[in-house]
Symmetry: C2
Subunit: 472 residues, 2 copies
Amino acid sequence: MSAASRISKRLVSTFTQRPTPPKSHLHSPLPSSSFPKGYILTGTHCGIKKKKPGIPDLALILSTSPHPTSAAACFTRNAFKAAPVLVSQQVLEGSGGRDVRALVVNSGCANAVTGKKGMEDAWGMVRAVDQLLEPPPSEGKNATLVMSTGVIGQNLPIDKIIKGIQSLSPKSPTTQEPKLASNFESWELAAKAFMTTDTFPKLRSRTFTIKGKEYRMAGMDKGAGMIHPNMGPPSGTGQLHATLLACILTDAAISPRSLQSALTYAVDRSFNSISVDGDMSTNDTIVVLANGAAAAAASQSQEEIDEETDKESYEIFKSELTAFAIDLAKLVVRDGEGATKFVTVSVHGAPTYEDAHKVASRISTSALVKTALYGEDANWGRILASTGSIPLSTPLLPHKVSVSFIPSDSTSPLPVLLNGEPEIVDEVRAKEILEKEEFEVRVELGMGDESAVYWTCDLSYEYVSINGDYRS
Amino acid sequence: MSAASRISKRLVSTFTQRPTPPKSHLHSPLPSSSFPKGYILTGTHCGIKKKKPGIPDLALILSTSPHPTSAAACFTRNAFKAAPVLVSQQVLEGSGGRDVRALVVNSGCANAVTGKKGMEDAWGMVRAVDQLLEPPPSEGKNATLVMSTGVIGQNLPIDKIIKGIQSLSPKSPTTQEPKLASNFESWELAAKAFMTTDTFPKLRSRTFTIKGKEYRMAGMDKGAGMIHPNMGPPSGTGQLHATLLACILTDAAISPRSLQSALTYAVDRSFNSISVDGDMSTNDTIVVLANGAAAAAASQSQEEIDEETDKESYEIFKSELTAFAIDLAKLVVRDGEGATKFVTVSVHGAPTYEDAHKVASRISTSALVKTALYGEDANWGRILASTGSIPLSTPLLPHKVSVSFIPSDSTSPLPVLLNGEPEIVDEVRAKEILEKEEFEVRVELGMGDESAVYWTCDLSYEYVSINGDYRS
């Protein structure tokens, strides 16, 4: 279009808002047999979400496995780490990932930028859960990790939370439902307690086999806004984004060290490869527990998977964990604030994986690309401008770059740029692909063999309205 | 607010759109005496903006000074440099910035990602202008720089452009107005020819004095979208953003080398410190010409300002150029696509200028911060999350960071975070400050003495609508 008509469009926009499609179909019952053995959990309303008494705001997850439970986690790399992040890091480091058996999660308040009081409150949640554990944690150790999400800069209503935790104790006299259990309803309640601006609980499970033995994995997460995670192992530093909380529970047995390395690998290719708004949170945390309960009985000893001693089993576990983490991560993008599109951005032919990941990230966070996706506009010029806007380990060669749109229905792709030269674009076909809720943007750099994938959504009116008055 | 009510808000948003305020008051006549001597220019409609015959889409600027004209420029660092960028770089390098006397600019088509044809067209524009020059450029040299802005991936209607250029020749037989001149109307027509989604022509002038001698400086620019420039000298590389075109003309005399170093300094603190949408363009270019015409007559020789031989004069010129570049850069942000706020983000107490600049840039590009600004919401948590989201040369110390909002009417600032601890925020006062069109976000890192400033705008519904259907 000419600049002139763009000016007139700017003054009198004819653009009509497309509402966010409902996402409820993304949540449905799962067979209890698909949940890992040896976990009891639930979600309850303890009073953090004052205005909605029915809505769960506290989740408690305990391993009841007779076998030792391994734990691993990745945390936000934001310099302003929330109290629960700092406390969970200390619990994990203090225990070496051994005998960490419980996880407590609250939504509605992030307990971030809350100073000393915030740290006391987070430790209070950990200790309150530790006291419920049978057998208790060994002397001077903690066995509980904590996660919080919600508004920044407000203190937790800690008394309500402690009461809430105690009311869930297996020993608790109160007859009040819900109780810790292992059925679908209890998993669903826990998942609901993770939610903030999420529109549906994010819960998935899967079974997998290692050397003929069957294991289970289930997990839940939440996201919606401030979503562009960059999480690392407890000691990690670097750049980061997004409030994302996730936990994955499995009944496999694996050493803490190997569990951490598998998780770090999986997170980089899943949660660290999604973006809703390119903003990174103070609370991002993903926790994995492996309780070895797949072994039929306490008597039946189960050998731990370890990267050093059994590489083959480790690689299978790592790929299962990565695939599952990707499933959970995609749910967050599908439920991104105001999202009307689910777009896969794949970058190929990069000299290094880091280069491919950087380009995919830049495209996935470009406001111009994301508004064009909302407008269902095959604006490859913006994709190209984003691609060229970050320095790579080797300078980009414009004449080698190709861009295409790939439909989700496996019909033929639409090339829009070939070796740096624009293709004559069939706009009808482009519309066909882009008006779908899901498609892929593929960028070929022609510089090497490395590739990376990012999952992102569009930038809509509703994103602006959700975030224009978040606190008010 | 509780997560629960946020969910309800998400489903039924009560958020109302605030329209972009009119910006026309930012353009008004300037006294001819304030324009630099020895330049003739104009803008005309040559037919690129098909749908709006009245709208200028071609600008021509010539120096008529009897003194040698120096030129310097900064160009986008995008890997996908548009043809006019590559051609102007070659012209500048071929001439060493000596005797470059003309600038031709078109809007409506960016001549970007247009392959060989694009390069031929850009060279064609340069040669067509060179042929108008008296005296002609010395053998084998070019004396004209070229800039283009508009849609990416389309070829220029080069015949129309060449005809347009020729019709402006002082020798041209055509009686058709407009002609090259040096009055306000001709400066205004040239500025209008820069515009794409801009809502007003961006033209400014100033006079300044060096060692008792008066000089003049005038310039024009355009922006609106894809605005987050990162431009460097011809040889520069690095990260970049935005379609920003600017030219600054002065009748001072300064050596090409010193003009380039002054411009590079000025651009980093002006055009490289603004953001509308964090996206970087393939065409960003800023050109400066210094024609020495302040000297009354050709006979009257004028000594060139040079960094080596006359540091004092150079420093005055550099600071004048920087202040003027900041004026022009701010206009781009005030006219940002959909912008309803003009926000200064100042970062203080950083260990290095680069650290301060990085933090200011990150805050200025955060979708969550920018939507909060649109919502007039004192959401310091998002400012903090952005501040902590990038690695600095020295790790950030959360307990030393303070954030405050500073009103534009010089009433008292509103601290929201003091040494890492949230203040009790007077929301009424916060609203007072944030509902104004202009205010400052001040971040103190408490780690050093360096500071940097960024100018940004909010992210509104209108930004989404403008960019949701840019091409259609």
